[in-house]
Amino acid sequence: MTPFSYARANDAAEALQLGRDAAAAYLGGGTNLVDLMRETVARPDRLVDVSGLPADIAETEDGGLLIGAAVRNTALAEHHAVRTRYPMLSRAIVAGASAQIRNMATVGGNLLQRTRCTYFYDTDGSRCNKRAPGSGCDAREGFNRIHAILGASDACVATHPSDMCVALAALDATVHLEGSGGARRLPFADLHRLPGDRPDIDTVLEPGELVTAVELPPLRLAATSTYRKVRDRASYAFALISVAAALELDGDRIADVRIAFGGVAHKPWRATRAEEALRGGPATDQAVHAAAALEFADARPLRDNAFKPALAARTLAAVLGGLARGEAA
């Protein structure tokens, strides 16, 4: 690690004051940032510890939930309102990392974790436009089984690694931010960027801007929702494909549906095309496969991940089929 100073912030105002230096970084649970610093991928000169900021989960006036950014991943997954009203979020969280990491990791940090592309981590000899802009991308022609098939660019084919964020994308969450210009709210879908020619920038956050909370809207169909993750081993691995989905049926027809995919793009992928295709139609395997085909029509698979569109379609069909039959998971 390169040298840095450490300071604890007691509230958001103090964090913003301490974090206004361009080379400062906010520290949550440290499960990603400390690792990146050890590998010298991240080299902040100051860490502002925001893990002690408010960590409450509160009911909102309209019947949603307001989740403090310092809430630990485990605390969110086990919260009764999340388990009953937003089960896909509980299931997404416990599908990620290990229990030890979930006990440390914060909600804010989960949003801002960086890709697990191995070339991004390999400072000893790999080219990576996300780590060193303009150096090139060794993933595009390299081992790219875990990489993106949607929304990628010549510069970068990395995926966003979070499970929790896939659920938040499907749930129409809102991110609460505070910065030098004041507070603002951002639809979750607008938080993460596609790589374009600036893959070094993951989100639309301004320098020094702090995630203070994530808000879930009231969403009736979220009570019938789940998360399924397909990976190379049964536990403690990143997703090849994951699906977060919520379903509301009206007889045999789909009254409403929410779908997001993980493991396919530089950001959690809200599948609006597939949702539109399914809404009002029959809840059949055939309809789901047709909707998935629409969603992945622009897919650009790489050497090692041509299986992803078909795997995503089958996983979606299994998930929606299970929800339609009233299966718990």
Binding site: G30, V34, T74, E78, A99, Q100, A234
Partner: protein, 168 residues
């Protein structure tokens, strides 16, 4: 402020780069906690922070100033092993032993999580009380690797002690 390690107050390191793992091993000479991968992938460095299992390799020691840390050295009561330590011997829950301190600390934290109803990836009913079946123990302990492959003994040791207490 200071860290409380197995009940004893010790100063936090001056250099914020020092991980909790290195502080335990190199400064305090508590070498029971093991350094495996040093990148959060193996669980060998698992300790308890205020009773919650965490990875000490990904923890900066300064961030745990004021917190109470329990390591493998803090589990036995004088000469009496913690029941889970005894069960690891009884059930052959190790070969080389390198992952064992992390396995034991992790299982103690795991049992506390199950007791308060934290669901896992294999939990069918998210709102029911947790029963620590073999599948549940395997999933909940998946953050602790054993490269000798002593998993059968590890799961049996856990199920015969801390997991049995959850069901009771």
């Amino acid at each position: 402020m200071s860290l409380i390690i197995n009940g004893i107050a010790v100063p936090a390191p001056v250099d914020p780069r020092v991980s909790l793992l290195d502080h335990l091993r190199e400064t305090l000479h508590l070498t029971g906690t093991k350094k495996g991968c040093n990148q959060g992938a193996c669980g060998a460095c698992t300790v308890l922070a205020d009773g919650e299992r965490i990875l000490s390799c990904l923890a900066l020691a300064v961030q745990y100033d004021g917190r109470s840390i329990t390591t493998i050295e803090g589990l036995a009561q004088d000469d009496a092993l913690h029941p889970l330590q005894a069960a690891f011997i009884e059930h052959d829950g190790f070969q080389c032993g390198y992952c064992t301190p992390g396995q034991i600390c992790s299982a103690i934290g795991m049992a506390a999580e199950a007791r308060r109803g934290v669901p896992s990836h294999v939990t069918t009913d998210l709102t029911a009380d947790v029963t620590l079946s073999r599948a549940e123990v395997q999933e909940r302990m998946s953050g602790n690797l054993c490269r000798c492959g002593a998993y059968n003994g590890i799961v049996e040791a856990i199920r015969s002690t801390v997991a049995a207490e959850v069901a009771a």
